[in-house]
Symmetry: C2
Subunit: 144 residues, 2 copies
């Protein structure tokens, strides 16, 4: 990592240009950091699943195949910190904790849902493209 960055910019600085055709991709850019968060292994799935309903920790854990308890906890804490998910602790035994999208989270959900929809719609095209690429590549390798 770069170790000399603390002095380079003032607090209120907005790193993203208004030009839709070009935007700042600096690593310290707020947009980059948020995209990294959204694009991590689990956040997107959590937000997609928390569609206008609240789910318990165990329900999320059960629904998201492959997530460990630790990573689900970490992911939910990050999303809570970002103001995208609300965490509600019910003071009962055994403990019960519900998670739901905040209004801000709901607005993001819409965008993410369209990404999921795109994926579902085009998965066959991608599968075909991959197969074609692999065949082409194998042929070239054999042709050498």
């Amino acid at each position: 990592m770069s170790m000399e960055e603390g002095t380079s910019k003032e607090p209120g600085y907005s790193c993203c240009t208004e030009d839709a055709f070009q935007w700042d991709t600096r690593e310290d850019c707020e947009v980059r950091q948020i995209l990294d968060r959204i694009g991590d292994k689990w956040s997107l799935l959590v937000i997609a699943l928390l569609d206008n309903r609240s789910l318990r920790f165990s329900e999320l854990k059960k629904t998201i195949d492959g997530v460990s308890q630790r990573m689900l906890t970490v992911t939910l804490r990050q999303l809570e910190r970002d103001g995208l998910v609300r965490r509600t602790v019910h003071p009962v035994v055994p403990p019960r904790v519900d998670y739901e999208l905040t209004p801000l989270g709901v607005t993001l959900h819409a965008t993410i849902q369209s990404l999921v929809n795109w994926t579902e719609t085009h998965q066959n095209q991608i599968a075909l493209a991959r197969a074609a690429y692999d065949i082409r590549t194998a042929a070239e390798k054999a042709g050498v």
Copy 2:
């Protein structure tokens, strides 16, 4: 990659339910794999930048802050394999290679752009939420 997948499901199997309220999150699900690809560290940035224009390798490298030559190459190969990016080699010296979105890539670009737009629009809200969370957390810790 997983080496034991051929036996678990038949080819035409669609892992995602039609119910928009619930979808399959199994790790071997095609949608999961594609979302992982889209959500990796660099793919999203590349697609966002390749908005209806072609860019040279060096231009992409220069524009995307922090990407190494290796990772840019790897990312572009994956996107090419997925049929999202077209790679054009010009037989000149020094070599010149252009990258542009395929028609399929263009359709994804639209969705990704809306995600970027969401991020730009709400970055201040998120920054505030984070600050509030940190203060709250620090207070609780001190209160213990």
